[in-house]
Symmetry: C2
Subunit: 317 residues, 2 copies
């Protein structure tokens, strides 16, 4: 076996390992969420990009009208294809073919005191004309969107990811936290963030110091940290009683979530513009939403406290 075919074999093996991780993560997270909800179950739909199965597909799992979760999805996909002219331009991709596999989740709880959460982990490979890997990278992250701010929840969420990051590289958390603060931004609303951030990283390429396994293990650790970073908050807040005004405010903030996803989120827009599966991509949109003209919370209110932290991100750890 020459080095090139060894490399191909390793590549294939790594892809299989990554796919197994993503599939396993989907199972574990869905089970934990069903437990936390106590009523609703995920409904699964398998889909293919093309009728002949070429191009791959995905497994969309949605939950709706639960005791805790009003709407949510934990989706995986394993997709591949030729690099089109559109992708070359839009994503600055050099290569002949591509492969991507990832998990993406968004949960919209009914109770306005339980925050919305989003996570996404993905691995991408590019191949030259001889099917050799010519580039590869990892990306992902997670962010929390509370409607009311509880410092202890924000601290728990951020500390969980700080601890996870620190096991790999102490530079990661401060850098990836800043990435999230800079990414989940409604630029058209005076740079209001959609929430209190988390971590975000993209196009992380293995090198000699931080190789393929390093990044694989890092993504695994972050993915598996989801349950510990979020479910304790759900448990603590899910039975808090709330008023119509609390619900109204949640729906106003959900409007900002819609604005971010449809105007700014690169993943959403790229998926929609390159013939991705619309229903799986847009499962991220909240179930009920409200848009009111020039709605602004009054100074000194809990609503305004949340807004201020979206305008000026804080150091939570």
């Amino acid at each position: 076996m020459d080095t090139r075919s060894i490399y191909k074999t390793q590549t294939k093996e790594f892809r299989s390992q990554w796919i197994a991780f993503i599939s396993d993560l989907q199972n574990q997270i869905c089970m934990a969420l069903e437990d936390a909800d106590g009523k609703a179950k995920f409904i699964e739909e398998e889909w293919q990009r093309n009728p002949d199965g070429k191009g791959g597909g995905g497994r969309t799992r949605v939950i709706a009208n639960g005791k805790v979760f009003e709407k949510g999805g934990v989706n995986t996909s394993v997709v591949y294809g030729k690099v089109t002219a559109k992708m070359r331009r839009g994503l600055q991709l050099e290569g002949a073919k591509w492969f991507a596999c990832g998990l993406s989740l968004v949960l919209h709880p009914f109770n306005p005191f339980v925050p919305t959460v989003h996570s996404n982990y993905r691995y991408f490979e590019l191949y030259d004309r001889d099917d050799n890997v010519c580039d590869r990278w990892f990306g992902g992250g997670t962010d929390l969107t509370p409607y009311y701010l509880f410092d202890e929840d924000a601290i728990l969420f951020h500390r969980t990811y700080q601890n996870t990051c620190d096991k790999f590289d102490e530079k990661f958390y401060p850098l990836f936290k800043k990435n999230a603060d800079d990414y989940f931004v409604n630029v058209h609303r005076s740079n209001e963030r959609r929430g209190i951030g988390g971590i975000f990283f993209d196009r992380r390429k293995p090198d000699e110091k931080q190789d393929l396994d390093f990044w694989f293990n890092f993504c695994k650790a972050c993915g598996h940290a989801f349950v510990d970073s979020y479910l304790p908050i759900v448990e603590k807040r899910k039975n808090t009683s709330f008023s119509d005004e609390n619900k109204r405010w949640q729906e106003i903030r959900r409007g900002r979530y819609v604005e971010f996803n449809l105007i700014h989120d690169k993943g959403t827009l790229f998926g929609l513009k390159t013939n991705g599966r619309t229903e799986s991509i847009l499962m991220s949109l909240p179930p009920t939403v409200r848009f009111e003209y020039n709605d602004k919370p009054k100074a000194g209110t809990e609503e305004n406290k949340l807004l201020q932290v979206c305008l000026e991100p804080k150091d939570w750890t």
Copy 2:
């Protein structure tokens, strides 16, 4: 007076006439809508692009929680500035300075049997370094977004604009109707239109046959046709009783309206990305909205009848 300064004077005069028309149209439409609503009144906010008043501004008029109109706006703006590098690229504008003045309206009725409507008329001038007009054009249109389809309403709406267009040029209605069918499209949803269209035209430049006055009169006629094209439908449907399921369907379709405006509408995106007044631009978003995973109406239902006409536009006249 040399020809150049005559031209400048004429230009200034025409701008004033157009501004007067837009302001007058806003007044007339708002009065007619308040009459039709019978309860809510428009609330006006004047805004300026810059604190020193340079760059112009607008007059936003919003109505909310009426007997008929749950949310709506009839906005005007008179804005001007230097052509920035961003505008040069994004809009392919050749020139040193620009001026724009227009009216934009969107009305979201509470009752799902009353359609949502949108209209927009605008005039644009470009100047060279010596402040001479080097280009100018008109644009605008209107489209209707019913939640339930009544053929007679669709016919009334389209015939009103067909009659208006025919007085100017019999080629206009078929062309501008097709433009609307091709523009108000959620490409990411198998080319589903947001409604049943109307008319749409852009970058219409005066020439020897159809001069400045011709286009001015055409825009005036379309603008003033609004009341006759829409209010008879409001009158006919506003007291129709409706079920929770009718309201749910309206909110689902409103979700498509949000998707179109935030993902595809050039005016919205350009406004948001070039520091326009966010609250005035986003007044177009519906008050309450619902996003459900993979919601599809059943064959044979009224909901599906509407959906089919959004997928395959019809000739209504």
